[in-house]
Point group: C2
């Protein structure tokens, strides 16, 4: 791996896709795969796949393809998922609870080990959605980050608290933030941030569906007028 920081983000995102496809093939007891077959399954060109992988090293053999186990191991190492990450969650509201119930994180090596909230009614009680976790008071945040060496945090607090919590997390030593609040966080450049706003995504869909409908309606009206 060339740790020069100049790898395009879409290439890194596609690594995740390659990994999932390799895992499906592995589950099918396959041993080799060509960039062509991988590309066909993912609707990408084989040259795209070879180019993406070349950012990270020399994999596979011309004419033979990739060894599935080997490439899987390599991509996991590159993505940093060849280890287990302790992850904390801030916000035990509806979204936080929903996320705590999602087992897809643990499957990928992201282990939710602590949950924080400022609501005294929640503190000290196990999460209904994941009873192994007892909600801790937000004041314990800094201590827990240090004690458990937590580098990744999920921020699922309301918009108005998100920036302040992000600031506290970073100050405590968190290096990557998964932000679910609908705000642009102001964060040090050496901290990684991924943002998802589920309701915004649905809004974008409703916009697109409404827009497509308007276009279709306008088209119909135009055709009707022409007929007259």
């Amino acid at each position: 791996m060339k740790p020069d920081g100049n790898i395009p983000a879409p290439a890194v995102r596609r690594l995740s896709l390659y990994l999932r496809q390799l895992e499906l093939l592995w589950a099918d007891d396959r041993q080799k795969v060509s960039s062509k077959e991988l590309g066909a399954a993912l609707r990408l060109t084989d040259s795209q796949i070879r180019k993406d992988l070349a950012y990270f090293g020399q994999f596979g053999q011309a004419g033979v393809g990739y060894d599935i186990t080997e490439l899987t191991t390599n991509i996991r190492r590159i993505l940093g998922t060849d280890r287990t990450w302790n992850v904390l969650l801030v916000g035990a509201g509806n979204l936080g609870s929903a996320l705590s119930a999602y087992r897809g994180f643990a499957k990928r090596g992201f282990r939710l080990v602590a949950v924080f909230d400022s609501d005294k009614k929640k503190v000290g009680k196990p999460l209904l959605s994941n009873p192994e976790l007892v909600v801790q008071h937000i004041d314990m945040l800094e201590d827990e980050v240090k004690r458990r060496e937590i580098h990744l945090a999920i921020n699922a607090v309301p918009a108005e608290a998100a920036q302040q919590i992000a600031h506290r997390l970073v100050k405590a030593g968190v290096k990557g933030l998964f932000n679910f609040a609908p705000v642009n966080l102001d964060i040090d450049a050496d901290v990684a941030v991924a943002s998802v706003d589920l309701a915004v995504q649905l809004e974008q869909l409703s916009f697109q569906v409404s827009m497509n409908q308007s276009i279709a309606d306008a088209e119909k009206t135009r055709k009707k007028r022409r007929k007259k």
Copy 2:
């Protein structure tokens, strides 16, 4: 609104941000806001905001700013969230259950009205995470889409089933898909798709954190060598 289909996607995404900020101001009993103040709160320039809004019409008055209630109403209309959308969910597994518990959708007018799964152990039973919803067999999908005029669907099935389910949803009449499966869906151009893969997002974070660490380590080694 100019339904010409040529509005940049980032401008539409920012509409969602503007809406949230306007709602916060509204909750504070504010009546007017300038593009400058809106920009400062969202870390955007005021000219960006004016440019984005100009795609959709003429809002606000020079020197006076925007009327908060009026702009809120207009943005909701543009985004199609001035109405209630019936939404269905396919997949009552961990992720689907988590999503069904998330109340952020309903708050924005997205009402989850039906849940489908192919697992006979789940069919006919209420969702633990949202007991108002009883899981229906996937064979009922097409009938329900038509009967309840459902235009938006959340696809939370495993990767290997996602394409087939997407195809059935679109054939039944769904116009917008919120896809949580880690696959590139092959879908008609007139159907809107938004994709989120939560585990991929965490993987991208762990990549970035690992990479930043490598860069910092390399820097340290270089400095040490120089000292010798």
